[in-house]
């Protein structure tokens, strides 16, 4: 009887630590992403889901539609529905902290993907692209492409997102050293392609004499390219994005966009799912923040890259 009890207790404990919950069902992982209106985040979410499945977990993707209230609802649902972990791409660096804390209080670990929350200890880990360093390299390329002089436009992402400012600051930490490079307009287009096209059209009315565009992501770079094409300026102006999205990679191949910075969403998503798996198995000492390197991709090395990553 004693042996049977020990065996039963061991089985229950193992079930709690492994891939299955107390009822023998696979543990559930919620994947909450800022938006599914951008292919890059779709890839991030789907990769995380695929990795979770490969590790033996059930998962469900929640789209916050860049809305913190909706994101909050997703967290409430995930907590109430008994999810065991949350892989999280936040909508707002500051505003999302409260959601992560709620999950933490409920005993649910949260693993941030790509975007940061402004807290060191609310999330179990934060796996982030090193946007700042990537944009230092993009800034160097931009200076060279414009031969250290000219007028340029900067399109910012969502202003409450740390990635927006890490990218902008990294870029300016280089470009601002060159007095003959003049930023004639800096506007937010919320990481959105259509909005970027509208913003760029409006900027071109006031500043038709620009030489370069630095966009905080590829969607905005592509939107800017559309506006420049409509104005008959495409090809005359250097446009740089950030992400390594499929259309941007194709555009560089076709000689349109000048460069982008390749983030590695597959690495980020798979690491987050693996962290959750290791957490279930008892690991607790995760680095609070783990920056993932990004690579500059331009015509000189485009043959080594494909959408969202390196060629195998």
């Amino acid at each position: 009887m004693k042996k049977l009890t020990i065996a039963l207790v061991s089985m229950i404990l193992l079930a709690g630590c492994g891939t299955r919950d107390g009822n023998g069902q696979p543990k559930k992982i919620a994947i909450v992403v800022s938006t599914l209106n951008n292919p890059w985040f779709v890839f991030l979410a789907q990769t995380a889901a695929a990795k979770a499945k490969a590790l033996g977990y059930e998962s469900k993707i929640f789209d916050s539609q860049n809305n913190t209230a909706l994101e909050s609802d997703h967290f409430e649902n995930a907590i109430a529905s008994g999810y065991n972990a949350i892989l999280f791409n936040p909508t707002d660096a500051k505003g999302s902290v409260i959601n992560v804390k709620k999950a933490k209080d409920a005993g649910i670990p949260v693993f941030c993907m790509d975007r940061e929350i402004d807290s060191r200890d609310a999330a179990t880990s934060q796996i982030l692209s090193d946007s700042y360093s990537g944009c230092i390299d993009l800034g160097k390329l931009f200076v060279k492409a414009l031969n250290k002089k000219g007028n340029y436009v900067e399109l910012l992402g969502i202003v409450s997102d740390d990635n927006t400012w890490n990218r902008s600051k990294g870029f300016h930490s280089v470009v601002d050293n060159y007095p003959h490079l003049k930023m004639v307009a800096q506007q937010s287009a919320d990481f959105d392609r259509n909005k970027a096209m509208e913003v760029m059209e409006s900027i071109l009315q006031a500043h038709p004499d620009i030489d370069g565009v630095f966009a905080g992501n590829d969607a905005m770079a592509m939107g800017a390219w559309q506006a420049l094409t409509a104005a008959g300026l495409a090809g005359k102006i250097k446009v740089i994005g950030f992400d390594g999205a499929e259309d941007a990679i194709n555009s560089i191949k076709e000689g349109k966009l000048t460069a982008t910075a390749m983030q590695f969403p597959k690495t980020i998503a798979e690491l987050a799912a693996t962290d959750a798996d290791e957490y279930f198995k008892g690991k607790r000492d995760f680095p609070h923040k783990l920056p993932i390197p990004v690579d500059v991709v331009s015509a000189t090395n485009i043959d080594k890259y494909t959408a969202y990553g390196k060629k195998n």
Binding site: D118, S133, I136, V174, K289, I292
Partner: protein
């Protein structure tokens, strides 16, 4: 209960609830309180450059040793490097001394014994994170946000431009011997370049 007493009680209840529900604070007070909580990157950078770095001379690799090891055993050489991520760009804190051979608008060039490459001390464009990351003494995990850490990099570069370089540029002349400690960025998947560009953090003309 008479009507006037009821009205007085209701009014008192509303006043009580209202008083506890609404409060006014000066916007400047709120902003100042937020500011006080803000991370002071400039103070951090000053402390790093003036105190932390001089207290850890062992963190700097002698440049001749690094140059020789880069040729003989690159994996060993890169084991002395640091970075905030595990990418191809790696950073070293290097030290050495050499004879000043030339000065142009962007660099002061040194000949360092035991270093086959030309050594260029950056004197105009202080760019990148070599000053922040070379020593390995600054880690992303000590900051609430990566923005704070990145601002430290900018402040360090600014301090180098405003404090380290002006006295050096005013006094340096070809032929003199310069003692230096600084950051060096190298790419792991590429051969060592012909010129090693050092971001100077401590400079002394001997």
């Amino acid at each position: 209960m008479s009507k006037p007493i009821r009205y007085v009680l209701v009014a008192a209840a509303i006043a009580l609830v209202g008083y506890n529900s609404i409060y006014f604070r000066k916007l400047s007070d709120v902003r100042n309180a937020e500011k006080a909580l803000d991370f002071d990157a400039k103070a951090y950078a000053l402390r790093f450059l003036d105190t932390t770095l001089p207290a850890h001379p062992d963190k700097a690799i002698a440049l001749p040793l690094l140059a020789q090891t880069l040729t003989a055993d690159p994996a060993k050489a890169f084991s002395w490097s640091h970075a905030q991520n595990n990418g191809n760009n790696r950073f070293f804190l290097v030290k050495g001394s050499g004879k000043l051979t030339a000065i142009d608008s962007e660099y002061a060039y040194l000949a360092v014994e035991g270093v086959p490459q030309k050594v260029a001390l950056a004197t105009r464009y202080i760019i990148g994170t070599a000053a922040r990351d070379g020593s390995g003494l600054i880690s992303v995990n000590e900051f609430t946000t990566t923005m704070d850490m990145n601002t430290v990099s900018e402040e360090l570069n600014r301090l180098i431009r405003s404090r380290v370089l002006p006295p050096f540029k005013a006094a340096a002349k070809p032929g003199e011997t310069v003692q230096f400690t600084g950051g060096l960025e190298l790419q792991q998947n590429a051969a060592a370049p012909d010129t090693l560009e050092v971001t100077p953090m401590i400079l002394k003309i001997q």
